[in-house]
Amino acid sequence: MSLAERILAGEIRAAARLMRDIDDNLPSSRDELRRLFTHTGKAFLIGITGPPGAGKSTLVDQVTATFRRRGKRVGIVAVDPTSPFTGGAILGDRIRMNRHADDDGVFIRSLATRGHLGGLSRSTADVANVMDAMGMDIVIIETVGVGQDEVDIVRLAHTTLVVMVPGMGDDIQAIKAGILEIGDLFVVNKADRDGADRTVRELSFMLEMNHYEESSWRPPVMKTEAQRGTGVEELVEMVESHHDWLKQSGEIDSLLRDKQGTLFQLLLKERLFAEVWGPLQKSGAYDELLDAILARTSDPYSAVDELLAKRLQS
């Protein structure tokens, strides 16, 4: 039996194995994903992003508990950074989610970025697809602790939560780029701390300055204390309101189209690059090419032109 068939039959180890194959970029994983694709598109994807230490993992834990009480099955993809120096990673998001470890209705997978920028790993979308095919109703994707322009999550999730904490510096940080545009919901976590109300006010004020159409979704700013679960029920209600709005307004159609478009382009880029890069590197032509460029007998622009011309002819 193929991994895909075993996954559809409910085998956990097969799913875990395919996620590994995807992460390690084995060619066989593409065949399995192909088989699973028609079984995807049912899960509701929630992205959670924000700076390191904002309480993302704790919030994921609480949101998961709330969905579990409502009888939903939950998949979690938690992304942490790979060390650029050693290629290793410590994936520690599970620490805050351990109470769900032996719940059959929850599947948690930790991923390392492996050099991918943007707050997610290359494999995140496909791993979320596997969870979708496993029959998870909700898939929560937690990005690495991000600061400013790591905004890939917005192209993957139906609803994106941006988690902030009081006292993260002046409000100009938030308006530089990215963060204010990607949130469907803003959460000021650790709301028992000094300055929480001020952070809520500042965020609300800056969001007011975004341009909204009459019919568009206005991102609310909510307060939580994830550690104690305060405000989580209300947060989940709001996430569901956003989901309803997506469906009622028809926004979901363009969102899904954009998302598939982005994934398609990424896949195409990756495959095209591999097609050219693989043979170039293996044949040793890459070294010669670099020598020529360094000696200024060739230049990178013509080298790429020639390479592409040759490749596209064949």
């Binding site: 956990i12 180890r13 875990a16 194995r17 996620m19 590994r20 992460d23 390690d24 970029n25 084995l26 060619p27 790979t82 060390s83 050693t86 290629g87 290793g88 990673a89 410590i90 994936l91 520690g92 599970r94 620490i95 351990n98 470890a101 032996d102 599947f107 948690i108 997978r109 930790s110 390392a112 492996r114 591999a274 890069w277 693989g278």
Partner: protein, 133 residues
């Protein structure tokens, strides 16, 4: 463009709250280029085994200082067998008397590191003993 990356779970079963050793070894594994799933303190064998399966790790390293190693470590191996996941290697480290080691190995623990083992030794052992599947 593909290569298997070694994935390893580091956890602390049972009730003792001393995680410094576990954190040091997690860091050493990271520096060796492994992906370390660190599950933290106070884990039940059930939680450890579920996490290991969901994360598709090649091996599990358990740090234990409470004296409950003769119960908790074999329990992890037993659950792995039950879930047909005993291809995942288990090793332990901590304050474990020499006399207990043969019993633990008979129960399925591949290796036991006692105080004095260096992180280099442990990393070298993992590199030799564990082949990413």
């Amino acid at each position: 463009m593909s290569e298997r990356k070694l994935r390893i779970l580091v956890g602390k079963p049972g009730l003792d709250g001393h995680d410094r050793g576990a954190k040091i070894i997690a860091r050493a594994f990271r520096d060796a280029g492994f992906e370390v799933i660190y599950t933290g303190l106070h884990q039940t064998p059930d939680q450890i085994v579920s996490a290991a399966i969901q994360e598709d790790v090649d091996c599990i390293g358990l740090s234990i200082l409470s004296g409950a190693h003769n119960t908790l470590l074999p329990k992890v191996c037993e659950l792995l067998r039950e879930k047909k996941a005993d291809d995942i290697l288990v090793f332990g480290g901590g304050v474990i008397p020499e006399d207990d080691i043969p019993g633990l190995k008979a129960a399925g623990i591949t290796e036991v590191f006692t105080p004095g083992a260096s992180t280099e030794d442990i990393v070298a052992w993992v590199k030799k003993a564990v082949i990413p599947r």
